[in-house]
């Protein structure tokens, strides 16, 4: 019974991570899937959101802390929203400069800004605590839930061990429920926003920019909107990660975890389809986590094992694209919704 609970708890942990990735893929889908914007600096917006939220809602600098700024201890919702706003503002600045230029510039600028942000996190200890990382980021509702669990356990001392174990993991279930609600709401808003004349213009731009301009569409303005919205969503994902992990360090925002795997998820799941974006996040994260178990049983060094995992993810992507070039669920053909109430 205890192993079942252990597996259950692991699944909750798995689903939480996959949900955070779903938010990232939904953001990237607005940019790439709908508008054709080549953002290869997802990690940058993700990191900006995570650190913003941690500074806005986190505890003030302590004695062993190099950080001198932030830690205002504001409620989680404020941290969460600031994460989206700050990431969106960064995208606005970057997009304002590059989006009118040839599309390669956005790609270069986005990967560049992600790298700059990573270096800032590493080196600007007054802001980010540098390589020591940001600690003690509060999880929303953690204390009420945890003390509720304590009260419950104290009141029921005869509880079988597996049930007690399950109860001790209750907070993760609560966090997962909250995350599912966020992903669900985001999905709903995006579906409604994108299956509309607005989304139609974005897809036209993706298909043929110059032809879209000939239909009177201000291409640069629409691209900027999609870039800012998508990046803001990535910032939200950062906040959701930070308040679950409670500890931020620069490794989590390296190009592999922050950008590459998000692209694999979106492309494998189905670019241009929000359901595909979510599915891709669960699928690829499932494979990634699965290969972790697999490589444990093989006589490999850590370096070899992680290289093998990357190869396996690559093979999955190639396999999906061979069998289903548009991803597991492709773009829907007729998407203008007439809002029939």
């Amino acid at each position: 019974m205890e192993t079942v609970v252990g597996i259950l708890n692991y699944l909750v942990f798995f689903a939480i991570t996959a949900c955070v990735y779903s938010v990232l893929t939904l953001g990237l889908n607005v940019q790439w899937g709908y508008t054709g914007l080549f953002n290869i600096g997802v990690a940058g917006f993700y990191a900006v959101g995570a650190y913003t939220s941690a500074l806005v809602s986190g505890p003030p600098p302590g004695t062993l802390d190099w950080r001198m700024f932030g830690g205002w201890g504001l409620p989680f919702p404020i941290g969460f929203l600031s994460a989206g706003v700050v990431a969106a503002l960064l995208a606005l600045l970057l997009g304002w400069i590059t989006i009118r230029l040839k599309e390669d510039y956005l790609a270069i600028a986005s990967i560049g800004i992600a790298e700059v942000i990573r270096l800032l996190i590493k080196n600007e200890a007054w802001l980010t605590n540098g390589v020591w990382g940001l600690k003690n980021i509060p999880s929303p509702l953690f204390h009420p839930v945890q003390s509720g669990v304590e009260v419950f356990l104290a009141a029921h001392p005869q509880l079988p061990p597996w049930l007690a174990q399950l109860a001790r993991g209750a907070y993760n279930w609560v966090y997962l429920a909250g995350l599912l609600a966020v992903v669900g709401m985001l999905y709903w808003v995006l579906e409604r926003g994108l299956r509309s004349p607005w989304g139609r213009v974005l897809r036209a731009i993706r298909d043929d920019e110059r032809a879209a301009a000939a239909q009177g569409k201000n291409v640069a303005a629409f691209k900027l909107q999609a870039f800012v919205l998508g990046s803001g969503i990535m910032g939200l994902a950062g906040s959701l990660y930070a308040h679950y992990a409670r500890y931020l360090s620069v490794e989590k925002f390296e190009p592999f975890y922050g950008t590459f795997i998000v692209w694999v998820m979106l492309v494998a799941g189905g670019s241009g389809n929000n359901r595909g974006a979510i599915l891709g996040a669960f699928l690829v994260w499932g494979l990634w986590a699965g290969t972790d178990f697999l490589t444990e049983y093989l006589p490999l060094s850590d370096v070899q094992a992680s290289a093998l995992r990357v190869v396996l993810v690559g093979l999955l992507l190639i396999g999906v694209l061979l069998l289903r070039p548009r991803g597991v669920v492709g773009e829907q053909r007729f998407v203008s919704r007439l809002f029939k109430a």
């Binding site: 808003v189 409604r192 926003g193 509309s196 004349p197 607005w198 139609r200 213009v201 897809r203 036209a204 993706r206 298909d207 043929d208 110059r210 032809a211 879209a212 301009a213 000939a214 239909q215 009177g216 569409k217 201000n218 291409v219 909107q225 919205l229 241009g272 773009e331 053909r333 007729f334 998407v335 203008s336 007439l338 809002f339 029939k340 109430a341």
Partner: protein, 255 residues
């Protein structure tokens, strides 16, 4: 309606359009002919803001529009189609059409999210209008196919259909008849005439099909090597030996 003054565009060492001046009168169906490589398409790109001229000016409805971006010109009432069709391949044919009209409230994200009824009403009207245009151009059967799957001729029709959706003051049609079958061609000519006569749209069109040009356009402007060679009624142009020379130099014969 449209006046072009001394317009020039150079690609490397080649003047694709050189010191070109012409006018298109309001309400007319003006034809633009000339051998391959004469600079007709380049001229359209210059007028519609897709290329910046190296020299010269473009005036539209009494206003200097030189260097304005294409989307601004669309809203001033100047629409252009492409010689090689540029449809939105991943979008359905009907969506290709619904995209076009200006003034869609749902093109603002917040309006879409906050005022779904308004957007819904507009969408239904757009859909109805798109269906009329599909009906007319004979594209109804492929309304929900992705535009990328259409044949070359159908894409050409879709280009024209989008022009109909745009309700412009002046439309530049770059070879609307290319790749369209002869029966359809007749309907096409009739529709272009109707566009000009009934709806008061000024038409400026490039075409190699001489039957279409001679039957539809007056005046006809002849371009050769980036300049206006001559212009006049179809009969005048047809009889002009310089025109025949230009075409013979360019392998074409006037039909």
């Amino acid at each position: 309606m449209l006046a072009v003054h001394g317009l020039s565009k150079r690609f490397g060492g080649l003047w694709a359009v050189r010191d070109c001046s012409l006018t298109v009168a309001q309400g007319s169906i003006t034809g633009l002919i000339g051998p391959n490589g004469a600079g007709k398409t380049t001229l359209f790109h210059l007028i519609s803001g897709f290329y910046r001229p190296d020299r010269g000016r473009v005036e539209f409805a009494g206003r200097d529009i030189t260097g304005l971006p294409p989307h601004r010109l669309f809203h001033l009432g100047l629409y252009r189609t492409f010689q090689i069709p540029r449809v939105f391949p991943e979008m359905t044919v009907v969506e290709n059409l619904m995209l076009v009209p200006a003034g869609q409230a749902g093109e603002r994200l917040w309006t879409t999210l906050l005022r779904p009824r308004l957007v819904s009403r507009q969408e239904r009207a757009l859909r109805a209008r798109a269906e009329e245009v599909l009906d007319f151009t004979g594209l109804s059967e492929v309304a929900t196919s992705p535009a990328g799957a259409l044949s070359g001729g159908q894409k050409k029709l879709l280009e024209l259909a989008r022009a109909l959706m745009a309700s412009p003051k002046l439309v530049l049609l770059d070879e609307p008849g290319a790749g369209v079958n002869p029966t359809l061609m007749k309907r096409l000519a009739a529709r272009i005439r109707e566009l000009a006569l009934t709806f008061g749209v000024t038409v400026f069109l490039i075409e190699h099909d001489m039957d279409l040009v001679m039957g539809l356009c007056d005046p006809v402007i002849v371009m050769s090597e980036g300049r206006v060679l001559t212009q006049g009624s179809p009969e005048q142009v047809r009889a002009d030996p310089r025109v025949i020379d230009a075409y013979l130099g360019g392998q074409y014969a006037v039909a």
